[in-house]
Symmetry: C2
Subunit: 235 residues, 2 copies
Amino acid sequence: MLCSPDQHLQIGAILFPDMDQFDFTGPFEVLSRLPNSTFHVLGKDRSPVRDMKGLILTPEKTLAEAPQLDVLVVPGGPGQVQMMEDETVLSFIRQQSTGTKIVFSVCTGALIVAATRLLRGVKATTHWASFQFLEPLGIIPVDERVVVDGKFVSAAGVSSGIDGALRVASLLRGDSVAQEIQLYMQYAPEPPFNSGSPQSAPLHVLALAQKTGSELTKARAANIERLVADWQNGG
Amino acid sequence: MLCSPDQHLQIGAILFPDMDQFDFTGPFEVLSRLPNSTFHVLGKDRSPVRDMKGLILTPEKTLAEAPQLDVLVVPGGPGQVQMMEDETVLSFIRQQSTGTKIVFSVCTGALIVAATRLLRGVKATTHWASFQFLEPLGIIPVDERVVVDGKFVSAAGVSSGIDGALRVASLLRGDSVAQEIQLYMQYAPEPPFNSGSPQSAPLHVLALAQKTGSELTKARAANIERLVADWQNGG
């Protein structure tokens, strides 16, 4: 997948309301630093959107204005539920994927890509709280932080987009380029707690997080059940 | 420093042109999730700014409109050079610091805070490529990822803002709250390379990164030399 340094890379990410900004800003930090590349910040239209915690993010091109991308980044967050039913977004992903080198989902962005049916039989991961939705969507679930299966790269929850983007950087431009970006970002993480996965978090913390997310998880489940039923009815 | 859960926390971050967006979006991701808190996205005015790689970020309040903050986040990036000479920004930091619980600098945001002279004799850190500037600015340099000295919390380069923000979260709201945020973010990092610090990066990668940053480092050095000379002349 390594590209000639002379080949200009077109990279793009889709912004949408109620996304998690960090699913996007992590990959932006890494991939906007690839030599000889352009990063397109895309939206259904150019109106600013608010992320799930209110941060204003502003697309600079509509989906229709995007060139054929080499890397398409699909972030997640609660707004993913609406995106899974948005034909404009799904057609855009389908269209782009025919010519793209990498479709890179972060967090529950994997569920949006899954709604296009492009991930049937593909190995992928997503945020831990949504991991159980991969199988019903026809994906082969792999409980790793970053999964690469052909042109599909998926990262687990939120901050794993950094690790995923560094993998994408190395796939396209080689290890030294990715390592220089990592050094610039001083990405030698030292989390102050060992609480970053359901396996490592203290039990009471896991219970708190599951309670906080329970309504959203229910909404996601209902949405995915409907979608899968629709597929089974030949939809 | 632990606050009563009933106490509403006012958190704010300063945006400026040519900042590094990740110095801000990392801490935003963590601190916008503190229970019973408001996160204010601040700018000199409300005009959108572009980060060093072109990402549009939009302040929602001017510095003058900000309430007394409990946590003031000061990000870095190349635009820090201008901010160190911006009296509006420096007075804002000085004023806020008299009533704030925490002044939290990320990356070269430490140099902006240093320009207020609030950090004389204080232990702090910054991005590895600017570490040598701490001492001339009267700071006690500590080569750690996150340094806490009284109300001043500093994180090293870019991505260390995540670790710093989790520390701030635990200082203000306790470990369980910070751990739940860490779990939500699935922050169990697995960098694909061991290249996140000058000590660990391959030598040729370090040389590349130093070359890439050399013009900016020179500009920073000239700026700081001028400032320190000014101080010595009683400025």
